[in-house]
Amino acid sequence: MKNAKRLAFPLNSQLVDPATDAAVRRVKLRVFSALGAAPTPTVWSWGRVGFAFSGALLVAALAVVGFQYFGVRSTSSTMLPGPLLTRSGSAFEALSTSPHSVAHTDFSDGSRIELAPAGKVSALSSTAQEFSVLLEQGELHVHVVPGGPRRWVVEAKLARIEVVGTDFSVQRSANSVRVSVGHGVVLVRSAWLEQGVQRLTAGQQLEVSPATSGAAESSPHGAKSPIRPIGHAAPKTIQPLEHAAAELPLVPRHRTSPPSVNELFAAVDRARLAGNRAEAEAALQQILSQFPNDARAPVARYTLGLVRLSAGGDRRRAVAEFELVLESGASSSLREDAFAKLVEVHAAAGEASEARSLLLRYQDEFPQGRHLARLRAKLRATRTKSP
């Protein structure tokens, strides 16, 4: 004691911080696994008969919480509540308007959506990284506060609009989707666009409108996806991809230079739309061999997995591609998708332990993963079905 250093109050200031991130994640898995499933006796070893009644109550309470948690999701599989809440503190679910009214929702981050008359918009997912809604009909005006952490996505059947911070409108009708940008930049993705994606800046407007089925049959060139400044009319006709796929070779004819990665991706899209799995696979392998360091190489690998998984495909080779996606430097979003596919593939093949193990890995890496609820439900369903 004589030579010992006098300890100061409080002692925790001189002790190492004992709670590691790994331990916090480990306990989180246990907590939310227990919330999602009936607790096991090992977890709830009360040790005394006097607590048996309390234990029974707790199991009942957890069952209620579990029912609320998973029951709501299973009845509304497209809604995944997430961190972006409305200003009232609740999760956004849906918004609809009559032919004579408008409606709006303000969000806790200052963003706002406004729905024109006769419109309907519903939530698809809401996570810390992404907020996604489905515009089922009508016109939606979106004001996203710039600099926010989330990517906003508006799905509108024919097109998908992605932004981070901007002001834009989406108008969906039976046969077209029109996107108008007030401020900032948006990306419109659609199979009806020549390159699959179009960047729009302030003042621009894009109408994605494939031909109606009857018109398309009689006129394969009838579709149009014109991009023009708002207020101008200079439509550029674009061939619909279904018809283009049948007519265009994998890469453009009459060329001397090798195809670019963009052209190869376009070829993949055309081949997939035409249902030509072999050509899609060939183009994807060409991307992976010729552009292994391209930022989109992991996307190509993931797509190759999907193509191989499609009807008549090779499941094992598809699994190998998804595993390679996880080993590559894929983005978080793509890693989540690859995890989800692996879990689904193993679950579908009856490999429950492998699927569970992958789900745990996925949970560990993405505690708020956007596929978690769906995958848990799928695994539970698989477990229920199995004898």
């Binding site: 109050f9 001189q14 002790l15 509540p81 009232s88 999760a91 303000d106």
Partner: protein, 209 residues
């Protein structure tokens, strides 16, 4: 924005905001959790888990025990959210549950130890374990303090650890120990009488010796 702007909104969504910007408040998360929002529960976990687990580890020593009580505390807190009259005090509510569970562990460990059912390897060595990096003399002190703490009454041990290890105010020690302030002071002082024989540490100024 729209031609029909003058028409009344079909759904009035604007509600006075309690927390005008940034992340939702703890109270908002508790309310959302009560409505079954799993995100809210996860967010509550993320905000509090590290502090809760750290306290459990410092007080219990063994990581398996600490993780168990942390899990149990969160589950109980989520289960009993309805009982929380002041949602913004979720953190204190959670710590109260945790402390009660730690106290029960202390009692069980003491009983098992007295009955000889606790193996040496199973004994908690919270302070010594967490003093990694400290000098030999300090480690020796902490080890001896662990030994003494194992022998004193669980309520005294808990009160002393909350006060001297965690740095809780005496009023908080009283609240967490479900006793009066005077009792909390007495418990800390009585435990310290035993501990100071092996640990070179003074009670904070103002605490009754």
């Amino acid at each position: 924005m729209f031609a029909a702007q003058s028409l009344k909104p079909a759904i009035a969504q604007v509600v006075p905001l309690r927390h005008a910007e940034g992340q939702p408040t703890v109270a908002q998360l508790v309310e959302a959790g009560l409505h079954g929002d799993p995100f809210a529960l996860r967010e509550l976990y993320d905000r509090h888990a590290k502090a809760v687990l750290a306290r459990a580890l410092r007080l219990l020593g063994r990581s398996a025990d600490a993780e168990d009580v942390t899990q149990e505390a969160f589950l109980e807190a989520f289960r009993d959210l309805k009982q929380l009259q002041a949602p913004e005090r979720f953190g204190a509510f959670l710590m109260g549950i945790l402390t009660h569970r730690i106290y029960r562990r202390f009692r069980r460990q003491r009983l098992l130890s007295r009955l000889g059912f606790l193996e040496k390897g199973e004994r908690d060595a919270s302070l010594e374990k967490l003093g990694a990096g400290a000098g030999q003399e300090t480690l020796l002190q902490l080890s001896r303090a662990d030994t003494v703490l194992r022998t004193i009454a669980p309520e005294l041990r808990l009160a002393w650890m909350l006060r001297m290890v965690e740095g809780c105010e005496l009023a908080e020690v009283a609240a967490l120990g479900h006793c009066s302030l005077a009792t909390a002071k007495r418990r800390v002082a009585r435990a310290h009488e035993r501990v100071r024989a092996v640990l070179d540490m003074d009670l904070p100024a103002g605490d009754p010796a």
